[in-house]
């Protein structure tokens, strides 16, 4: 029986607080006040008051984001023309930017014949080339990749900075620690949101102190819940998606924040983009913040077809590359984090607006996969929606699909976000055919402004992942793999460490400071926690389907080892370790038989996660 739920009426409810919602609420709050500070507009639900605007954020603090970024900050600077990076902790203007090709120093990386030939050539001409600690700087950084004039930032700190200004304005309310379970969809319109139930058991059954999630009814629901947001996916499932829509390109980004050793002389604002190692498919980054702090990370994409793909372990090998190890050796791991990136870009754009709702940010397909930029685009889509909302409020027009399309969507279509997003739309397709083809495809798209692209069929991630036997054929015998699987299953641990080491990757020698075990990382620099009284947010829909898997990539990719091998082949989820990266959603190898394109992992709205504000 459906429990009785409390209800609250507001004018605008926003789902999720990230850069997009930050842009939206900042622009909106400025427009809600007249020049003298008095309300410029009136609430419908609370006559005599200014419009009631509430934003609900899933994580326990608005600063618990998980991304260190370099951004051109065009949209952010448009909102804050006098922005001084020094006002935001960990922010610094971009000072130097390099693209570095990393050779494989250990010989374990899976490189194609073509890439091996390139590596051999570089090594053969090492005395004539600027080879530096097993790496070579590309002589030219394409304009579309450059972030000159921009800045390096911690999104956690940026969110805190934006959030504090918003709250000080008094015009909007932002409530962290409050996940939104679903949109209230009535006759094809969205009438608000329902918050998650509290006081429930792991399976969602009412427990002590049961408090059914409240219904927050609003004329406009702003969906800004990111790439794996539950509300976004519910809307797509129930209200449909545009023709040609596809979300098949993903990546999980994993990052360390490092206190650099005294010996490191890198200046704040130094930016390295890397390619080539630890695997050719894995791109990396290294950003230097003020006060001798760096963010170092990698992206493990869906088109890296290893069935034992792991971001944490590969990130350690990335840091151990001689090019970086000279900078970080003796440093200390301050915090870490991980998140999924929706890399289909504009091709993954859902309906941007409908009756009673609009979508902004990464989940709305704004990320530019050619320039590798998402925060600035997300912020800008938020400001565009805010301008549209203010226009509609001033004119007394309602939040219908037609009105939102003629204001918000029209603004977005006219903007640089759209123009550059179209150029980037197919820029990464070539990676489906290999690393070098992918690079060629990016160059083709970038230099021809998207007129020419490298054609390739982009497959669903679950269609491309081989079994460990197939992936390691010729390197490790089936018999040995079977034995390793049996041993790992008995110990309830993932396969990747054992298989990678058997394939030639050296064991990581933990130093207890920078190189620590995955489980120790959960306890460092903010730690992971989950408040009691919430249901599991990762659910294996059909356990019988899990039993047929045999290659649980969800276990391998899990950024916090929150998913481990379980009895009878059904993985076990530990909510208290989850960092909400959402990688399990797109790494499940079992598609549901209903042709919906959904996998057997349900990633719901949930509370808790990483308490780090430095990511």
């Amino acid at each position: 029986m459906e429990p009785e739920r409390q209800q609250m009426d507001v004018d605008i409810v926003c789902v999720g607080f990230g850069p997009a919602a930050g842009g939206f609420l900042t622009t909106l709050s400025r427009g809600l006040a007249a020049g003298d500070g008095a309300p410029a507009l009136e609430s419908i639900v609370a006559p005599g008051m200014p419009p009631q605007v509430i934003c609900y954020e899933r994580s326990d603090d608005v600063g618990f984001g998980v991304s260190g970024i370099v951004t051109r900050a065009r949209g952010i600077r448009a909102t804050f023309p006098d922005l001084d990076p020094a006002a935001i902790p960990m922010a610094a203007p971009v000072r130097e930017e390099k693209v570095i090709y990393l050779l494989d120093p250990v010989g374990a990386s899976r490189r194609s014949i073509g890439l091996r030939a390139i590596d051999s050539l570089i090594r053969s001409f090492r005395f004539g080339l600027p080879l530096d600690h097993g790496a070579i700087e590309l002589p030219y950084t394409p304009e579309f990749l450059r972030k000159h004039g921009g800045m390096v930032m911690s999104i956690g700190q940026f969110n805190q900075w934006v959030g504090s200004q918003l709250m000080a304005s008094g015009a909007v309310q932002v409530w962290p620690g409050t996940p939104v379970a679903q949109a209230l969809i009535e006759d094809g319109k969205i009438a608000g949101v329902r918050l998650v139930d509290q006081g429930v058991e792991k399976d969602g059954a009412p427990g002590p102190g049961f408090l059914p999630g409240m219904d927050i009814r609003a004329a406009l629901t702003v969906v800004a819940d990111g790439p794996v947001g539950a509300v976004s996916r519910q809307i797509d499932a129930e209200l449909g998606v545009p023709q040609g829509y596809q979300r098949r390109d993903w990546a999980v980004g994993c990052k360390f924040v490092i206190d650099l050793p005294e010996s490191c002389n890198l200046e704040p604002g130094t930016v390295f983009h890397t390619l080539g190692y630890p695997e050719p498919e894995i791109f990396g980054f290294f950003y230097v913040h003020p006060e001798r702090v760096a963010s170092a990370g990698i992206f493990v994409p869906s088109w890296f077809t290893s069935p034992v793909r792991t971001s944490y372990r590969y990130l350690q090998h990335f840091l151990l590359h001689p090019f970086f190890w000279r900078y970080v050796q003796g440093g200390r791991l301050r915090s870490w984090g991980a998140k999924s990136l929706q890399e289909s870009g504009r091709r993954g754009e859902p309906f941007l607006a409908g009756d009673g709702y609009a979508r902004i940010g990464e989940g709305s397909g704004s990320t530019n996969v050619l320039t590798g930029s998402g925060v600035d685009e997300a912020w800008t889509t938020g400001t565009q929606l805010a301008e549209a909302v203010l226009e509609l409020l001033r004119e007394g027009r309602s939040f219908t699909r037609a009105n939102l399309e003629s204001t918000y969507v029209a603004r977005r279509r006219r903007s640089w976000v759209e123009k550059e997003g179209r150029i980037a739309e197919k820029a990464r397709d070539g990676f489906q055919r290999g690393f070098l083809t992918g690079l060629a495809g990016m160059a083709l798209s970038g230099f021809t402004k998207g007129i020419f692209t490298m054609p390739a069929r982009v497959e669903e991630p679950y269609e491309t992942i081989p079994t460990p036997y197939e992936y390691y054929r010729g390197r490790i015998s089936d018999h040995e793999i079977a034995k390793i699987r049996e041993q790992c299953a008995a110990r309830c641990i993932p396969l990747h460490d054992a298989l990678m080491e058997r394939a030639g990757w050296p064991a990581i020698e933990y130093d207890g400071q920078l190189l620590v075990s995955h489980q120790d990382a959960l306890l460092m620099g903010g730690k992971v926690q989950a408040p009691p009284g919430y249901a599991d947010h990762v659910v294996f829909i059909d356990p019988a389907l899990c039993k047929t898997c045999g290659s649980p990539v969800c276990v391998e990719i899990c950024s916090a080892e929150a998913i481990t091998p379980g009895p009878d082949g059904v993985p076990v989820f530990d909510r208290e370790k989850c960092v909400h990266c959402g990688a399990c959603l797109w790494n499940c190898t079992r598609a549901l038989p209903d042709d919906s394109g959904r996998t057997n992992v349900e990633f719901r709205a949930g509370a808790g996660g990483l308490h780090s504000v430095e990511n």
């Binding site: 507001v10 603090d61 959030g163 309310q173 409530w175 075990s517």
Partner: protein, 267 residues
């Protein structure tokens, strides 16, 4: 049924999940990257606040105030989380919450703010707070607040407060040796330094948040800066503790346990 004015003294502390590192700066000791660290309501004060909210709910007509001395920006951030938990009116003082402050000065600030609450009725006044603080456990602040307010009835390490129909108060206090002591007094005014109490953290309630926030932001905007004396510290350090990670494959649980005990002994 008695109606109370319950004033909770509670400040903020760095999120206990963070790695904290004391450093000495030009203004005395502080925490490394303190301004960047996320903050939470001091857990001891949190217990006091939730007990106060529960008491007020069971005694209609009662009202809860939260008097908090903390940096305004950080306090605002914490209110974004706490504001949904229980109805209260915030009285904000823009002051340091680092823990490296003089307890007597903090007590003076709090007592002054409490005395200045409009319409304060001493015959209904219950002053709540934590008997300790997660930032620096002087353990004396509530007592000094009571003294400055001229309240003689003081209870520390309180786990339970029961109110009689006639307004008498029965108090369960922790005492040495793991025992409890039951005390009673005729009624308000009284000071209570709470231990953990018995109540769980309340669920987030959006309606409570909406109602609180309308008064929280004006209270924060009105908060006046105040300074507290900084005592002289000879040295400040964390307990000696060093993370040591080692993978062992062939040890029995007993051997692992023995090794851990030996390691603890060394530290």
């Amino acid at each position: 049924m008695p109606q109370f004015q319950i004033v909770v003294c509670g400040s903020i502390v760095p999120d206990p999940l963070q790695t904290l590192e004391p450093v000495t700066g030009p203004a005395g000791p502080s925490l490394k990257n303190e301004l960047m660290l996320p903050a939470v309501l001091d857990p001891w004060a949190g217990h006091a606040l939730y007990e106060a909210a529960n008491l007020a709910r069971n005694h209609p007509g009662s009202k809860v105030y939260l008097v908090s001395a903390a940096p305004k920006a950080k306090l605002q951030q914490v209110m974004m989380t706490v504001g949904q938990k229980a109805p209260f009116e915030l009285v904000a003082i823009d002051a340091s919450a680092s823990g490296f402050t003089e307890a007597a000065d903090v007590a003076a600030l709090l007592a002054g703010a409490i005395a200045a609450i409009p319409g304060l009725d001493r015959s209904r006044l219950l002053v709540f707070g934590g008997w300790e603080s997660a930032s620096r456990g002087a353990g004396v602040t509530m007592q000094m607040v009571g003294e400055r307010l001229g309240i003689a009835e003081q209870f520390l390490a309180v786990d339970q407060l029961t109110v009689g129909e006639d307004g008498t108060l029965e108090v369960l206090e922790r005492i040495e040796g793991g025992s409890h002591q039951i005390s009673s007094c005729q009624g308000a005014p009284a000071v209570f330094g709470w231990a953990t109490g018995n109540l769980p953290e309340p669920r987030n309630n959006p309606q409570v948040g909406m109602q609180n926030m309308r008064a929280i932001m004006p209270a924060l905007q009105k908060a006046k800066p105040a300074s507290t004396g900084v005592p002289s510290f000879v040295s400040v350090s964390l307990p000696k503790q060093q993370r040591e990670t080692r993978v062992v494959k062939d040890l029995t649980p007993d051997e692992v346990a023995r090794e851990i005990v030996a390691w603890i002994g060394e530290n």
